[in-house]
């Protein structure tokens, strides 16, 4: 009996000692002057006692890098007896940037609100860029996080009240006020894929005489690359499903597929396939197919009161350095002239030349300390000027 007990004790001690080796007993975070430590730990999915696993740690490093909060993440293991302390040194990015948006107006974006990894946006609409009509009024507030406080849960709370929005169709031209509330929650699966569900409520008033409300629910399913620095080709996509509720009967399906391919040097090709299928009688505010900067440019897409649209856009970009030479590294790229052909297929029920619309654009992507912005000029049915900010 004694022998059995001593053998069992020995086995237990041995198994415990095996269990105790190569484990991370603590994580030290360095270099974070703003982002909270718990947010970083959550992003890393660190669990105390985690066994040292290079694949898992590489994944954690990639998630930290793709969070948009850090420009560099350095990991080191310090041995303590049989176990390790993981030291994570981060370099924080500039987290405040300006917003210049054709619909929202101008504002400020904080990508790490109170160091919690939450993105906050506030903007005021005091002019309408399209017809350069100046007027006061309108605001947008948005609070969101793809990984709330570093967890895999996403959320979004958005509130906007935008005055005197333009709506021009071949039949009519009018202005309307739009008050929108959005509440959403989601979950990030492994890597950077996940889903997000939203509830949307809109109050619309046209010339103070006609008023109506829209209630809708939506679901977004997406897949984005986590670390694409070492890849020549990568793809990402988003599927958006939206359905009217509480008496508003309509459904919208949107697919946004993107492909990036570095051809030679830093010269790249980017393709985007954007499709919308609008079923039922959607109110006009839900018929904005792509959002202002994703439209078939050089056209006023509000004119196309059609249930279906498929847009194919390509971008061929040649990154240049500050001295206008072809760039040899992404870091040296300052200006990127882009050629942007677009083709849209409008009506799948009646295939004819009329069903196809095309435009061609020229843009210059400019890397600035506040982010990337790109003025564009498009030639379609009409001449159009656009400004994209990323």
């Amino acid at each position: 009996m004694k022998k059995i007990i001593s053998s069992l004790t020995l086995i237990l001690i041995l198994s415990l000692s095996v269990f105790a080796t190569n484990r991370i007993v603590n994580v030290q975070i360095q270099g974070n002057t703003f982002t909270k430590k718990f947010v970083i730990l959550n992003l890393m999915s660190y669990k105390k006692g985690m066994k040292v696993n290079v694949d898992e740690l590489a994944k954690a490093q990639n998630i930290l890098m793709s969070s948009g909060l850090f420009s560099n993440v350095y990991m080191n293991l310090e041995a303590t007896n049989d176990d390790y302390v993981l030291v994570v040194s981060v370099e924080e990015k500039n987290h405040i940037s300006p917003i210049v948006d054709l619909v929202k107006g101008v504002g400020i974006k904080e990508s790490d609100l109170f160091g919690l990894g939450v993105q906050g946006e506030a903007s005021i609409r005091f002019f309408n860029l399209s017809p350069f009509e100046i007027f006061a009024g309108g605001y947008s507030l948005d609070l969101s996080s793809q990984r709330a406080f570093g967890t895999p849960f996403s959320f979004e709370i958005a509130l906007s009240n935008l005055k005197k929005m333009q709506w021009i169709t071949s039949q009519s031209k009018f202005q309307y006020d739009l008050a929108r509330k959005t509440v959403g929650a989601g979950y990030v699966l492994s890597g950077n894929s996940g889903f997000m569900a939203n509830y949307i409520h809109e109050n619309v008033s046209i010339s103070a005489s006609e008023q109506f409300a829209v209630d809708a629910v939506s679901l977004d399913i997406y897949d984005r690359p986590i670390q694409m620095q070492n890849k020549r080709t990568y793809a990402w996509w988003n599927l958006h499903l939206e359905k009217g509720i509480n008496g508003t009967k309509y459904s919208v399906f949107t697919l946004d597929g993107n492909l990036y391919h570095r051809m030679i040097g830093q010269v790249y090709y980017q393709a985007r396939l954007y499709g919308v299928l609008n079923l039922g009688n959607a109110p006009f505010t839900r018929k904005i197919y792509f959002g202002d900067t994703y439209n078939l440019k050089g056209y006023d897409t509000k004119e196309f009161d059609l249930p279906f649209m498929l847009l194919f856009e390509t971008r061929i970009g040649v990154p240049l350095t500050s001295s206008f030479e072809i760039s040899k590294s992404p870091e040296l790229s300052l200006y990127t002239p882009e050629l942007i052909p677009q083709i849209a297929f409008m009506n799948y029920k009646n295939i004819s030349l009329e069903s196809f619309k095309a435009s061609i654009g020229l843009g210059v992507k400019i890397n600035s300390p506040f982010g990337v912005f790109e003025p564009e000029i498009f030639f379609g049915k009409e001449l159009g000027f656009y400004l994209e900010m990323k």
């Binding site: 040292v52 290079v54 694949d55 740690l57 590489a58 490093q61 560099n72 350095y74 990991m75 080191n76 293991l77 993981l86 040194s89 670390q227 620095q229 070492n230 020549r232 570095r262 051809m263 030679i264 040097g265 830093q266 040899k328 590294s329 992404p330 870091e331 040296l332």
Partner: protein
């Protein structure tokens, strides 16, 4: 009372450390252009932001040879920088005239530092027993190959040739000819015309064939010996057989390699990240093929402090070069360029394993370190290399046979070595 005194001492020490480096401006000359420059600039900028009393201004002064010329001129005009990045082969040019600072006094205060540098790298900065620089951007010559062309030729892209024989066989399979017999794609790109590169690529072939370029005391050139001459014959056959382009200069060769018209060739590990960021096909990186021995060339640069800078600046400059080569920064430099990590602690770190996950092509260069040999160094090394380069060029163009060319070159080099000893 004791507490108050302690507080005063701490306050005085703080003041001393604060003002020790107050407003020290350092000028740093370097040779890192293009894709390496942003990584270097980022390190310098980070140093400046984390060292409030010191400000380093990094200035690109052309390639290594141009930096040597400019530095010689700067000494004449008494307008020298404080810190300079020198090719490890060029250190002797300046230590001969005591123009570089002996770093022993700083290293003696930091004994663990020296032992953390990778031994073969450390040897490149020690001259007559004294360290004159810290290794910074050390590289190995590696075999770069086009994985797409390997697949197209029915070869396994994960299996790079390991011997000369295998390399020649693979190169033949990768050479594509038009019906008129003219090559439209070459299998190999090794030692084509280029003053800076041709002999740099040729040198490890001599070592791989069991030979040496110089004797150990660097008093005699050994290229007239059978191992070197045999190597030259074998190398010439690659052009004669048409597997390597004979009438192409180095820049044209690089362009052809980039455009997928040449399948493989030896290139510096310091260019791996550039290749990964710019090539229009998948890159494979492997150890240079072996023959009688396994060997590759160690190259690259180091950070030296000039001996004529003031004591205050010396201390600040030491802080800078030490910081630039610390474990974290050497890994950052490695990930963003391909130059090898110079610290042992970096080679065994977690971070290097994470880097290999992202860029597996960076790993073979680290595995090549045990086989890497530094290039022989001498005060007149630029002239010596020029002579040896001319010799292989004469063979490539059929002006001389290998034995003649290396006999003549060895005599000339011996004369240079002799005159240098007599100075």
């Amino acid at each position: 009372m004791v507490k108050r005194n302690s507080f005063l001492i701490v306050a005085v020490l703080l003041l001393i450390t604060t003002f020790a480096f107050a407003n020290v401006n350092l000028v740093f000359w370097h040779s890192m252009s293009d894709y390496q420059k942003p990584a270097l600039d980022k390190l310098v900028s980070e140093f400046n932001s984390t060292h409030p009393g010191i400000h380093v201004v990094a200035i690109y002064e052309g390639n290594y040879d141009q930096t040597v010329t400019k530095l010689k001129t700067a000494f004449l005009s008494k307008n020298t920088p404080d810190i300079v990045q020198l090719n490890i082969e060029h250190l002797r040019i300046f230590t001969a005239n005591h123009q570089l600072l002996d770093l022993s006094k700083f290293l003696s205060k930091d004994p663990s530092l020296k032992s953390d540098f990778v031994d073969p790298f450390w040897k490149t900065v020690v001259i007559n027993g004294k360290p004159y620089a810290l290794p910074f951007n050390i590289s190995c010559l590696m075999l770069f190959y086009n994985e797409d062309l390997f697949k197209k030729a029915g070869l396994d892209p994960n299996k790079a040739p390991k011997t000369w024989k295998e390399m020649e066989e693979v190169a033949k399979k990768l050479t594509v000819r038009a019906p008129n017999g003219r090559a439209t794609q070459y299998g190999l790109f090794w030692g084509v015309s280029g003053e800076d590169t041709a002999f740099y690529q040729f040198e490890p072939l001599i070592w791989q064939n069991g030979g040496k370029v110089f004797n150990s005391s660097m008093t005699k050139c050994l290229v007239d010996q059978p191992p070197a001459v045999e190597t030259l014959k074998r190398w010439k056959s690659w052009f004669d057989e048409g597997i390597s382009p004979a009438n192409m200069n180095y820049q044209e060769g690089i362009q052809a390699f980039m455009m997928g018209k040449i399948a493989m060739g030896p290139m510096t590990s310091g260019g791996i990240r550039y290749a990964l960021d710019n090539l229009p096909w998948d890159l494979g990186v492997a150890m240079l093929p072996s023959h009688k021995a396994t060997a590759t060339t160690l190259g690259g640069g180091s950070l030296a402090i000039l001996s004529n800078v003031s004591l205050g600046k010396q201390k600040a400059a030491w802080e800078f070069i030490k910081w630039m080569t610390n474990t974290k920064n050497t890994l950052y430099w490695y990930e963003n360029t391909g130059y090898l990590p110079v610290r042992k602690s970096a080679l065994s770190s977690l971070q290097i394993k994470l880097i290999w996950k992202k860029f597996p092509q960076l790993k073979p260069a680290v595995e090549a370190i045990p086989y890497a040999r530094p290039r022989p160094v001498n005060v007149d090394i630029i002239e010596i290399r020029h002579t040896l380069f001319n010799a292989i060029e004469e063979v490539r163009h059929g002006v001389k046979n290998p034995q003649q060319a290396f006999d003549d070159a060895a005599k000339k080099v011996d004369e240079i070595l002799k005159s240098e000893r007599q100075k």
